[in-house]
């Protein structure tokens, strides 16, 4: 009996990353990929695929951070405007020193995340309202810092982060992949990852198991803020300018990617692989629409429908599973 159980437990190791609900969305991703390559002949070209990855890299990084927050049954609405703030700060400081710019971007993001985390965990205020507030504050700070004007003429080496390649792979994509690998490891193979799922599944039972749940919650928001900081650096480097409104609306795309990837807004279920799938689904669909010359007006409608449809598919597959 014991050995059977251990074998079953050990088996779990590699394939469960693609398990359960995520299988549904993985299938959807594959279908969309096949559909896209049939619809548009240019889709499968290496250049186009590389382009898709480059385009989703920033949202992908934000979504990775957001995954931690949503796994603990929270939400972080501040990340979009935080990209504007951290991107502007990074651009401004990069003019002094590139490394300083990157560092300021990351730290300012993490700092706002810390504020979110403290008010949510210690103040027991609902995450939605806290991050709605810091979303507005971040916008204000970005406008104050820039005076409302774009910051131009960034050092070429800073812009290299956004335009350079490593072994022919865009640096932005390399960063995204690294972020996902680290998150995958953290969520699956560390104590912190176990605690994230536990807090999301049942916070009180986790506290009663001796875990400092407030710390775990604060860390989730700090990670999300830091991810937004990284996103800000990446965006400023890609477009070569720091602008006080450049991240507006990114939070919704990041949250959508997480939800499409099957992570439950109720917390405790889901994961980072799903978020990557969700990010890619959104990226491929908007790429195909661009290739097919679908107007931006219609793109909003299509993306919105995808979000609702994905949430519906996840809900149905959950019901199907519990029926079994």
């Amino acid at each position: 009996m014991t050995t059977d159980l251990q074998a079953a437990g050990a088996q779990r190791k590699w394939w469960s990353a693609l398990n359960l609900q995520r299988q549904g969305m993985l299938l959807v991703l594959i279908l969309i990929f096949i559909g896209a390559s049939l619809l548009t002949p240019n889709f499968l070209q290496i250049n186009n695929l590389r382009n898709i990855l480059r385009q989703v890299a920033i949202i992908g990084v934000l979504a990775a951070g957001q995954t931690f927050v949503i796994l603990i049954a929270g939400i972080d609405l501040s990340v979009g405007n935080l990209v504007s703030l951290t991107g502007s700060l990074a651009a401004g400081f990069a003019k002094i020193n590139i490394a300083l710019g990157v560092l300021v971007g990351l730290i300012s993001g993490a700092a706002v995340g810390l504020v979110n985390g403290v008010v949510v965990a210690k103040g027991k205020v609902q995450a939605f309202i806290v991050t709605l507030g810091t979303m507005s504050i971040a916008q204000g700070l970005a406008l104050l810092y820039t005076g409302g004007f774009p910051i131009f003429d960034l050092p070429a080496n800073f812009e290299f982060i956004g335009s350079g390649t490593l072994l022919n792979i865009p640096l932005l994509v390399v960063i995204m992949v690294a972020v996902y690998l680290v998150c995958l490891f953290v969520l699956r193979q560390t104590k912190f990852g176990h605690y994230i799922y536990s807090v999301g599944g049942n916070e009180e039972a986790t506290r009663l198991s001796g875990i400092n749940t407030d710390f775990i919650k604060m860390m989730a928001y700090i990670l999300s803020g830091a991810a937004a900081g990284l996103g800000g650096v990446m965006l400023a480097a890609r477009i070569g300018v720091g602008m006080p409104t450049m991240g507006t609306g990114y939070e919704l795309q990041a949250i959508a990617a997480v939800v499409i990837g099957g992570t439950s807004l109720a917390g405790g279920r889901g994961g980072i692989v799903g978020t990557l799938i969700g990010t890619l689904i959104m990226g491929i669909i908007s790429n195909v629409m661009n290739l097919m010359n679908v107007t931006a007006f219609w793109q909003y409608i299509v993306i919105g429908s995808i979000i609702v449809l994905a949430a519906l598919i996840n809900e149905i597959s959950k019901r199907y599973q519990s029926a079994n």
């Binding site: 159980l5 251990q6 079953a8 104590k191």
Partner: protein, 502 residues
């Protein structure tokens, strides 16, 4: 007693199969008007499947349901209600912000000036009429969320009455009620019986069934074992039929040898909950704490575990004074709490058996942040087989385990964390008879291994049957201590209720 009456509900050869399990196998049952028919069985015996078939949640694979002699297909909960079959679940379906009257008539409002408008006066008058039929005094304008569980249950019953239900299915109706509230509920059930309602009464509590039920049906592993008049069958017989083997001893009590003191409490107080508690707990003993609900027992347990810290007083663990401000402080000192509500406070239901068992010990098992699956699998597997936890795999979500197995997972978590003092709060609540005995045997085993056990329970037979010493709390104070030999049900109840001071 039912001669000449036609059954209002008949089930013939009902079978239901789920992947991997035959939940019901050829079960037949008859319910007469004015009958209280108890359905008992261990968890997994098929009680809830049977209930769900009757209430339209599941449909049967085979078999036939007759309502007043007519064949019916119950294909939805709405359909069941239309047929006059009402189910009162353990979780109520009431709107907390509406009044008693509004809840009773929800969806059936009438008498408004215009269609869609409410006439509160008419509604209240109607609701009062219904409650009068149940012989219940309750302010119909009270908002439901301010009412007690017992009162909310009455409202559910009143709703069923308004829906003209002829068959009432009750699922563990007394699970959350105090003794006095149970009495009130039984009064309601008796008056419904006089009015000709047939009641299917699903419960674990055999003593209540012998009080209220006319007939009893026993299920085991999805099969019908027997249907008998309650007056003709003993509790022991019922238990034997439920678990399929004779039960020599419901409480496998054994005398333990007391070791050195491991927990000392002096003048422990938490304002508003308990005052000036003194207690010494020794290795190798089981100490029971009896008392009424609200006597401060759970609060004391939570203070000892650091979950809701005491405001003053001294706690010493193995002679060392400790300050317990968070459960992690208590866990580090070897104190564990198996909480009253395991789904709310004991388990992460969305997590696997292995992850739940390991949760409190990750910090001890792994010095760095990195967690090795192999280690978790090995230790979790060890406790799964040691405690005989029935689960298809270590990665099964605890949501899908039975109550007894869930409780064992909670216990495994604390054994792995190397607890020396285990506090059980209502250790066998909602657990079926067979699994209860297993939990008792485990408690004995822990005591034998030299651990100290503090058991809070509202089931007096459990306290008396298992404890080496019995303490009694009343209104936040420790009012009496009995040895195993001294403790009797009468004595403990007298002190717990304050009828008599010692």
């Amino acid at each position: 007693m039912h001669e000449g009456k036609n059954p209002i509900l008949e089930l013939h050869g009902i079978s239901k199969h789920f992947p991997g399990v035959q939940a019901l196998d050829d079960v037949s049952l008859t319910l007469y008007p004015g009958e209280v028919h108890a359905v008992v069985g261990e968890n997994g015996a098929g009680k809830s499947t049977l209930m769900k078939i009757l209430s339209g949640v599941y449909s049967a694979d085979q078999g036939e349901v007759l309502c007043n002699g007519v064949h019916v297909d119950i294909h939805s909960p709405r359909n069941a209600m239309d047929l006059g079959i009402a189910t009162i679940y353990q979780e109520f379906n009431l709107v907390p912000v509406l009044t008693v009257a509004e809840n009773i008539y929800l969806g059936r409002e009438s008498g408004g000036a215009l269609p869609g408008m409410l006439n509160r006066k008419v509604l209240s008058a109607q609701a009062r009429e219904v409650l009068k039929r149940l012989q219940i005094k309750l302010d119909v304008t009270a908002v439901v969320e301010h009412l007690s569980v017992a009162e909310q249950q009455i409202i559910e019953i009143a709703k069923a009455l308004v829906a003209n239900s002829k068959v009432l299915i009750m699922d563990e109706p007394t699970a959350a009620l105090s003794d006095r509230e149970v009495e009130a509920l039984f009064k309601v059930i008796r008056s419904l019986r006089e009015q000709g309602t047939g009641i299917l009464y699903v419960s674990h509590r055999l003593d209540e069934i012998t009080q209220i039920a006319d007939r009893i049906t026993i299920l085991r592993d999805g099969q019908l074992i027997a249907t008998r008049p309650v007056s003709e069958v003993s509790t022991a017989e019922i238990v034997r039929m439920m678990i399929g083997r004779p039960m020599d001893q419901q409480y496998p009590a054994e005398a333990h040898s007391r070791g050195e003191p491991v927990l000392e409490i002096r003048g422990l107080t938490r304002d508003g909950a308990f005052w000036d508690i003194n207690l010494t707990l020794y290795r190798g003993e089981i100490v029971g704490i009896a008392g009424l609900v609200g006597a401060g027992r759970t609060e004391l347990a939570r203070a000892l575990f650091g979950a809701a810290p005491a405001s003053s007083g001294v706690i010493r663990v193995q002679g060392e004074q400790v300050n317990l401000r968070h459960p992690r402080h208590a866990i580090r000192k070897g104190i564990a709490l198996v909480p009253e509500d395991r789904k709310l406070d004991g388990l992460i239901l969305s997590r696997s058996v292995r992850d739940n068992i390991a949760l409190a010990s990750l910090g001890r098992l792994f010095k760095s942040l990195y967690v090795r699956d192999k280690v978790i699998n090995t230790v979790a597997g060890k406790y799964v087989s040691q405690l005989d936890i029935a689960t298809p795999s270590l990665s099964q979500e605890t949501l899908y385990l039975s109550g007894g197995n869930q409780q064992k997972v909670v216990l495994a978590k604390w054994l792995l964390s190397q607890s020396e003092i285990v506090i059980f709060d209502e250790p066998t609540r909602g657990i079926d008879v067979g699994a209860k005995v297993e939990i008792y045997i485990l408690m004995n085993q822990l005591a034998r291994e030299g651990k100290a056990i503090l058991m809070i329970s509202s089931e007096l037979p459990e306290i008396l049957g298992m404890s080496d010493r019995v303490l009694v709390m009343r209104d936040g104070s420790m009012v009496a201590e009995f040895t195993r030999a001294e403790a009797t049900e009468d004595k403990v109840m007298a002190v717990a209720t304050g009828v008599k001071e010692l």
